[in-house]
Assembly symmetry: C2
Homo-oligomer: 329 residues x 2
């Protein structure tokens, strides 16, 4: 090694300056993504509601081109409507392969981004991938609506969706904050005595909001998409106990039942530990759970969220689709 | 973050000096292991055969206490004998739960360490865990016997073992170099037209000897057990092409058949990428493969190889046992 490492008496590692080269073990598209600086939006104080709204609006503009492309090119019709008073993007593929199934999709974006049109486009994409009607939950978000608004919205919509579809034929999924919310919502509907989804997909999910996970340290700076620190968790949690399983699903009691679960991460993902720790917690409780980790992948893939999917991103989507199909069949 | 990160025009990350704290998300035993300096044996020149033999003898002494403890305490009888001219430690549990099964265990140790008495003790442990007769392959090693001696030995013994046991009832496993050899041997026996094992377990396996894997960079220094660099690969490969699948099983053609595979790694493991890349290669070829990654775990676990297993190490062994049982049943 061409840098220094010292282990101190407390077990902390002191690493000298070093260079982490662009990997050669991934696709050209993935390499291009890792070599391109990732936009890092400013994070206003959590009391600065107007500041946050501006940051969110700027992010929406950044995604506009990808979103418009998806919404105009996918063989899917999306209707935005209120279900139980909550905005939901109901996406219907032009040709439905699985009429008896539905997908419940919860968008990501750090609990504050990617609502509205992005959520609509994500519902369209999911419907196209899953070949069934998809309900894209456009949950309320901070700064005006922190926890537990998103989960309240999720429960309300879930109650309605399961009147139309057999819950065992509904898969639920989401990435990042959407993975956090998918796992938390599943715990909540279970605890409220409602039937759970038949399968869930957690893509690079935030599972331990206390940030005790080791890859928050080891992958800091190496994950170029998601940086440690920041105050979105505080903005969302709004003073609630971060160890509450509805905020940190890792601390849920999975022995009381939980659906078969697909978990995805990457070796450069800041949330790799959040993902693998939940995988083990599920297995320990006897829940069927599959872990999928991609080489050198940071949080959220190699560009899929901007509409420029690398082959690895496509493989990731296909793996989730295959899992859902296997479980719901 | 309290350190600097710069992405240069070539996509290389320049990380400033930083501290990676001892994680709080693991067991006390695991924390103690990470806080204890790991012995780093000297690596003589590959032409210095006597130097290597001294290093190996010193390592043997380091393991002596653990090895003696295992060999005297486990409810297993171990007989060392020659099978097809190769030294094999045949371990028989005092009470055999699965008389129709056998386990083929290939010891680890960077292709040069952990032979002899360690391999014998490892066979005993495996037999106790797997509840069946275990054949611990004590393959020839460098400096006197580089590649392909280990695999030649493996093929020769495999030919004999499958005369006694239905190969579909034999699982094969190994850690580190033992994982590399288990995967490579499975490819070799397949290519020679022999039946393959019914299941294999690859614990933190070396799969890409070219060291292109990204965690050779990202986990360098963070994995306190295995360091990048060193010349054991050169010592073992002896000038052969490192992209040969018998040296780097990642490059094997798995569409020609491969047994259901259990893969294990840790988020701090230098071989995390080697492990997840093989997992994906197997899935891509349609081979049933399960990935298991433990939080903050370096190469080889939290002390199991010294006889001081952390709860995470025990969970890891139990997960492999459960997998083998599920597949061979």
């Amino acid at each position: 090694m061409d840098f220094t490492v010292t282990l101190d008496a407390q077990g902390n590692l002191h690493l000298g300056p070093r260079v982490v080269p662009l990997p050669t073990s991934i696709s050209e598209n993935a390499r291009r993504f890792l070599a391109t600086p990732f936009p890092s939006p400013p994070q206003p104080e959590i009391t600065d509601k107007e500041g946050w709204k501006k940051v969110v609006a700027a992010a929406d503009r950044m995604f506009e081109r990808a979103v418009d492309h998806w919404l105009t090119s996918l063989p899917v019709t999306v209707e935005t409507r209120a279900i139980a008073g909550v905005s939901v993007h109901q996406a219907t593929p032009h040709t439905i392969k699985y009429p008896e199934r539905a997908h419940f999709r919860i968008h990501g974006g750090a609990w504050v981004f990617m609502g509205g049109k992005y959520a609509k486009a994500e519902a369209a994409m999911t419907a196209a991938e899953m070949d069934c009607v998809t309900f894209g939950l456009d949950y309320r978000m901070p700064p005006d609506h922190p926890y537990p608004a998103a989960l309240d919205d999720g429960v309300a919509v879930w109650r309605e969706v399961i009147k139309q579809y057999d819950p065992r034929k509904i898969a639920m999924s989401g990435a990042s904050a959407g993975g956090n919310l998918s796992a938390a919502l599943t715990l909540r509907v279970r605890d409220e005595g409602l039937p759970m989804p038949g399968a869930i997909g957690l893509l690079t999910p935030a599972t331990d909001m206390t940030r005790a996970s080791d890859t928050f340290q080891t992958n800091a700076g190496i994950d170029t998409v998601l940086r440690p620190g920041g105050n979105v968790v505080a903005l969302y949690a709004d003073g609630h106990d971060l160890t509450d399983p509805y905020l940190s699903p890792l601390f849920g009691d999975f022995t009381k039942g939980f659906p078969p679960t697909f978990l995805q991460s990457g070796t450069r993902d800041l949330l790799l530990s959040d993902t693998v720790r939940l995988h083990r917690a599920l297995l320990r409780a006897g829940v069927p759970a599959e872990l999928h980790v991609w080489e050198a992948m940071p949080h959220g893939g190699f560009g899929a969220i901007f509409g420029s999917a690398a082959p690895e991103d496509t493989e990731m989507s296909e793996a989730l689709v295959a899992f859902v199909d296997r479980v719901l069949r």
